[in-house]
Amino acid sequence: MSQRIVIDPVTRIEGHGKITIYLNEMGEVEDAQFHVTQFRGFEKFVEGRPFHEMPALMARICGICPVSHLVASAKACDELMAVTIPRVAKDLRRVMNMAQIAQSHALSFFYLTAPDLLLGMDGDPAQRNLFGMAQVNPALARDGVSLRQTGQQIIELLGGKRIHPAWIVPGGVSEPLTEEKRDKILTMIPPAIEATERALDWFKEIVVHFEREINFFANFATLYMGTVMDGNFALYDGDLRIVDADGNRIADGLDPLKYDEYIAEAVEPHSFLKSPYYKPLGYPDGIYRVGPLARLHVADRFDTPKADAEFRVFRKEHRQSSFHYHYARLIEMLYCFEKIEIILNKPDILSKHVRAFAEPNSYRGVGVSEAPRGTLMHDYEIDDNGLITRANLIIATGHNNLAMNRGVLQMARHFVKGTQIQEGMLNRVEAVIRAFDPCLSCSTHAYGQMPLAVQVVAADGAVVDQVVRG
């Protein structure tokens, strides 16, 4: 008799998801699926709205990374207006985007993942959280809180509020930067860099205890996709590059605005999350990963010294296990703080010329930028009066859907045995998902409430065991 295990809800991720593990007659894992159980409908209800509202409207998709949506949406609107925005406006958008990436990475690493790393995959679930962590290693917890705070405060200083600032607008930003705010942000950077370096040192110390997990943590060959600018690691502007697991370039110089020429989206009946794939390889062979791990695989170098040094260490080894997302995330945080400092020290950063004005000049606009979780794409079409007629979004988490599903299966095969579920087994399965830091509410554009769940299902469809949390 085959059986089914359901983990519902998956904990310590953004949004609500569910994992189903199918067992065969022998009680061995046959298949596993990661379901995103919410539906939102942003693409539909923006139809008919004036395009100038889009950045602020789309930012409401997510309270964790509204800035990423602001950026991609505003870039799509820049395309609709067919304008080149002032260079300083671009720099200011980049600063806010990097502050956002840094705070989101801090949330993912310290709040969601570090409890597993510090207290162990089999640790007491009641303790396996930020508070349990604060008891065992208060300095680490403090660094996590302060890094997230730094990112959020930079966003607040620039945009007036931490969540859903409306400062990034079509054509640039709405207000120039003041000297006082610039100086305040600059004082926040050195301590943030030091805290990030401490986290990197700690991670390298403890990572040796996770050899077994690393081997099965979505550890398989896939393509990687990310943005590069002249080969440099890039987050705001650039071309897309796709490399294979060994680093061979599969495609380079891809125009992000023509994403639909090389990316297609498949729909699976078990999830509201679409499964994008690389067209030339077809579905599901066109599986690829995006986000920190992918970005560190596509880039040739970083253009900031500390992050570049760390990048070289990272690339010395073959790191295809998704466990290395965590490492990559810390390196990106380091880069973000370094780069913010460089940009804010540019002599013209206080320029008052930060916005271009224009009527709609193009019927279609695509905006692509790197969000904390990977490449984010907003694609709009408008009518003669500038009202939205069609919108398509590919959210970073979506790109990783195929890889997350395969990762869950791989982990379940190695750690889930028999019909008696042990908490530690399931936590490992969830931890694979956490490594990708998915944002499910974003990626499905959420209707209703669906916390994470694991089910063990028998061959005849009977649910053998079920763990529900949330």
Binding site: G48, P50, H52, E53, A56, L57, R60, A166, G386, L387
Partner: protein, 240 residues
């Protein structure tokens, strides 16, 4: 010579002349009466019912904006009954349209929004109607989002009383009422509209706005209206 009356508003002795409304006299004496369809300089119409007050000896509630003062009136501008009615009116305005403040161009500068805050509207007790309405963005410079329209008719009045264009009008009855330009054609096709923008500036919500404005950016400027109102009065009195 205008006759001067003495009356009581909220137990205070006040005075006003025969050409003044209860609202005028209340405001002169810094007594707050909420309004939404009223704006200084436009003809009062008593449509939104937010300025309803209690007048001693009158069973019905009367709108302060269209009720002229009389000798010996005793008026109360606040009471539990009035507070409840006013809240209910604002709640009904919210349920009737699609008012999503967080993504509105006038978020933070909207009269409906600030009035709701002032009146303590923290919940909407009625079901939302969620009407399906469209945005008219056919005009070169302005757009009209009927989702955010509360039918105050400020736009209709300013267009008629000051610009003399009479572009705006009201079509339909009751809940079917809507603001139309000319003979219900796209605003951009209007032959009468002079693109003066006065309607945009007097609109209390984000229903009328300048194209190109992003969320929170549409701040209305109404300074022109008291000036024009004064000039008009001067002209009428033959002193201009």
């Amino acid at each position: 010579m205008r006759r001067v009356f003495t009356l009581k508003i909220d137990d205070r002795d006040v005075s006003g002349n025969e050409e003044q409304s209860v609202l005028d006299v209340a405001r002169e004496n810094n007594i707050f009466v909420p309004t939404l369809c009223h704006v200084d300089g436009l003809t009062a119409i008593g449509a939104c019912r937010l300025c309803l007050v209690e007048v001693q000896g009158v069973a019905k509630l009367l709108p302060a904006c269209t009720t002229m003062v009389r000798e010996g009136m005793v008026i109360h501008t606040t009471s539990p009954r009035l507070a409840e009615y006013r809240k209910m009116i604002v709640e009904m305005l919210f349920t009737e349209g699609n008012h999503i403040c967080s993504v509105c161009v006038t978020n933070g500068h909207c009269e409906l929004q600030s009035l709701a805050v002032k009146l303590g509207v923290d919940h909407i007790r009625l079901p939302y109607l969620n009407p399906i309405r469209e945005v008219d963005a056919s005009h070169e410079r302005y757009a009209f989002d009927f989702n955010r329209c509360i039918l105050c008719t400020r736009c209709v009045r300013v267009c008629e009383e000051y610009e003399g264009a009479q572009t705006w009008g009201v079509m339909g009855r009751g809940i079917e009422s809507e603001i139309i330009s000319d003979l219900d054609q796209p605003w951009g096709d209007s032959k009468t509209c002079t693109s003066c923008g006065k309607c945009v500036q007097v609109c209390p919500t984000g229903a009328l706005f300048l194209k190109g404005k992003s969320v929170t950016e549409m701040v209305k400027h109404r300074e022109f209206l008291p000036y024009l109102a004064t000039m008009r009065k001067v002209g009428k009195n033959g002193h201009g």
